[in-house]
Amino acid sequence: MRILILGGGAVGTLVARRLIREKNEVTIVEGSEERCVELEEILDAKIIRGSASSIRVLKKAGLGEAEMLIAVTNSDEANLLGCLIAQVHSEIKIKVARLRTHEVDHWQSVCSSEILNIDLVIHPDRETADRILRVVGLPGISEILDFAEGRVKLIGTNVTQDSWVVGKSMADLEKSGPPKNSLVAMVFRGQKVIVPRGEDRLRVGDHVYIVLPADKMSETLEFMGIPEASRVKRVFILGGKQIGIEVALQLEEMGVQVKLFERDLARCEKISGLVETTVVVHADGSDQQTLADENIEGIDAFLALTGDDEENIIASLLAKRVGARKAIALVNRLDFVPMAQLLGINSIFSSRLVVVDRILQFVRKGHVLSVTTLREEEAEAIELVATPGARFLGKQLKDVHLPRGAIVGAIVRPSGKVIIPRGNAIIQAGDRVIFFCLEHLVPELESAFIADLGREKA
């Protein structure tokens, strides 16, 4: 497929790299000359320097031949204009745009109207807020992902020093009588991604992903020694950017007491007009004394959501030290993530990755139900429906020779029955398959579960 990407920033680059690896032809339009030179070096894509909202530039970039447009420049206006130009001057079938405006709900109808015909509008702040809210009340859990309409869950958790699982091998865990149907799917250790086998042991600092049926959630938490969800009462939010406001509004609705720290007075005044019960505090929320004065002791969660990665990391560490039960940080620099996790921040979210996931999921639409990137671009969780005639169907899992670095996490039969498979499980056509694998194995595995994928793409 020929794909035109507007904007060669972090999101554009991540998406492009994946799409290129999946044998698509990618052209990127980027405004900064310096960035163009960098992109040339790291991507096997055609790079066109120029404005994403210039008709001439887009035509030069091959608007006429492209089949898909992904508008992810850092300007909403440019993204919308790019889509408008594509609508008028080309036959492009699929258009995806990122919009940051808080008026996104109103824009939704404009975007889907015949004038623009944008197929997918991504609002990074809202999508990230959704992910954050799911784990606010679970101190030991860094991430929860839903599959098969919530029937299967993937939870991410950090192995801490005081946990009983430290030093235990997979076989040991198996012997200690875990809840049936749960499985350690992947372990992130520093820069490494491990699909654990019987003899692999867990270490302090590992970030572990466990897949389980939804009804076994509390059992599994108990087994792992992770405190259960309690009612969230008090939450501090650092930074009055849009994502902070979004989260605050949703927490309010759940009846949570929220304090939002923002250093800019004018911004504070503006926010206080938007929120109901949230207390907007005009102070530096990364200052220990301030936090103590505002009664940080015993809060359920501290959310560092400023635009500054370093500040978010430092502030959450501080908050943890002075008594927050859970610290969540927004970190966009992806190479910081493993380090921040090691330092003890419970959850880390990147709004960039969230956008990348949404785009990839959309690009692969049809055969794949969902795509989630686990940590930078090293591994993915994929959910798809197996089709008749595919290579891996009708055989026992132990006989299909899954490549190293891949694991089938769950099978959901059409009846709704969830199976966390062992070696003797057999996948049948129509099953939903949820698998986890290193990123470079994705195309290979997808084609093993879905027949005709190769032909369809060609």
């Binding site: 020929r2 052209t27 040339e40 070096e41 096997d44 894509a45 055609k46 790079i47 320097r49």
Partner: protein, 482 residues
């Protein structure tokens, strides 16, 4: 950090590819019971051995090539090509020593076409074929062929592409670099087939037609005859060769626009292509006028002038007349055309038409700046502003070309070569033309030059083919520092 294993492994693949092309010539020799057979077989075996050894000894999983590794790989591959290409010449008895064999080989790959042979026709036909084939391989580029067919040069391909392809801007024909490279090679092949058929139809035998096709499309200049194209004394053949020399001197990106994308407007409105035609026409007119004074037939004078002008400007170096006997003005004009060369992205040598054109504009801007002291003037090309960094690197390139040129001339004169011969020999080597003027003119050879001079000129040829920086940067300390 330079990943030696990685690049030596890839260089091994390139050498194996060269061995394969040598193998084709061996087959030719076998079926024609040719005298060059033994030398070719020996050379092929050595090439297979060397390439195979590098591939096996440096076996590792391929990874992305960095900027530095790309430059190093390109230079290593080109030097290796020169060495491997020299083997059959060396093993045959026709070249006195390895210096001569290497000179002939590197002159072939860089599409220079300068020869040390007094009597070309005495060479076995298989070696003549190999001589021309080195042109054809080097013309579009060894590395470019590698990018097209070796999947292991994925993302790093762009670095290599830039290091080898002349004046390669960031513009790709297709989003994937491998497809761009493949498209270029396909065009090149298609033109070559067309020329072969045309020459054959015009009365050349198939062997001469193949050899001259290879030489023309690569704008090389090796002929199978001592008297070059003159020996065929056929206006039809001359016109066919003129046409394909002109074609080979145009940017292949423009050919792609015209033939594959069917956008003739883009082709004909391109500044460089236009300026190229204007220069060719103007130079031909000037030379015709100087010739006409001594020649009775006006149309023949035009044809002779056109052939020589095209041949020299595109850096082919065929001759249909001994221009060494022409008036000093005509000779000097040809020398000037050597510096200009063809278009960027073509198989020609020289500074390239686009650069000369930009250079004019830079100079013109300087004058405007003197008059309009506060004015800001962008340099425009093809209706787009050229960035200041591009202008800067253009000026640097011109500067370094003249610097090497001058240094090489000094070296040659120090070795006892006369000034006019030295200047034209260096220009003809560096800009990949072939025959120069004076004692290296079209009826002479480079054979009589001192050994050391041949090495200097070999260096110039490679420096010119790789557009200076790629080769010269290896001689800077910064390149090797971590």
């Amino acid at each position: 950090m330079i990943g030696w294993r990685n690049i030596l492994q890839i260089a091994g693949y390139f050498i194996l590819a060269l061995a394969a092309s040598l193998g084709l010539v061996v087959l030719f020799a076998l079926f024609n019971d040719d005298a060059g057979f033994d030398a070719l077989v020996l050379a092929t075996l050595i090439a297979v051995g060397l390439g195979g050894f590098l591939c096996l000894a440096c076996r590792c999983s391929p990874r992305q090539i960095s900027n530095r590794e790309g430059i190093l790989l390109v230079v290593i591959t080109w030097v290796a090509a020169g060495l491997v290409g020299a083997l059959p010449f060396y093993f045959s008895a026709h070249f006195g020593n390895f210096t001569d064999a290497f000179f002939e080989s590197i002159s072939g790959f860089t599409t220079t076409g300068a020869t040390i042979l007094e009597d070309i026709e005495a060479l076995p036909r298989s070696l003549l074929l190999w001589r021309s084939l080195t042109h054809w391989i080097g013309g579009m580029g060894i590395i470019l062929l590698g990018i097209a067919i070796l999947p292991l040069l994925g993302t790093g391909g762009m670095e290599l592409y830039r290091a080898e392809f002349s004046g390669a801007s960031s513009e790709r024909l297709t989003p994937r670099i491998a497809e761009t490279a493949l498209a270029l090679w396909k065009l090149y092949l298609a033109f070559s087939v067309a020329e072969f058929l045309a020459l054959w139809a015009a009365g050349m035998d198939y062997f001469d037609a193949i050899c001259h096709t290879f030489s023309t499309m690569a704008t090389g200049g090796f002929s199978t005859r001592n008297a070059s194209i003159e020996s065929f004394s056929s206006p039809a053949i001359e016109f066919i060769i003129i046409f394909f020399m002109v074609v080979a001197g145009i940017n292949f990106t423009q050919h792609y626009r015209l033939l594959m994308e069917r956008r003739p407007r883009a082709f004909f409105t391109d500044y460089e292509t236009r300026f190229y035609f204007v220069l060719l026409a103007a130079a031909t007119a000037a030379v015709t006028l100087t010739l006409n004074l001594s020649s009775p037939n006006f149309f023949e004078a035009i044809r002779v002038a056109l052939f020589q002008v095209v041949s020299i400007m595109t850096g082919t170096g065929f001759s249909s007349a001994d221009f060494g006997l022409w008036s000093p003005f005509a000779q000097l004009l040809l020398l000037a055309l050597m510096f200009v060369g063809g278009c960027t992205g073509s198989t020609t040598g020289g500074m390239k038409v686009a650069r000369i054109f930009l250079l004019f504009r830079v100079v013109a801007r300087e004058f405007r700046r003197i008059v309009e002291r506060r004015g800001i003037f962008a340099i425009r090309f093809n209706r787009e502003a050229v960035s200041e960094s591009t202008v800067q690197s253009l000026l640097n390139l011109v500067y370094i070309a003249f610097l090497i040129n001058f240094a090489a001339c000094m070296a040659l004169t120090a070795l006892g070569v006369d000034v006019f011969t030295a200047i034209s020999a260096v220009a003809a080597s560096m800009f990949n033309i072939g025959p120069g003027l004076g004692k290296v003119g079209p009826s002479e050879t480079y054979g009589h030059l001192p050994h050391l001079a041949k090495w200097v000129l070999s260096f110039c040829m490679l420096a010119g083919r790789l557009e200076y920086y790629t080769l010269l940067v290896l001689f800077t300390g910064a390149f090797w520092r971590k």
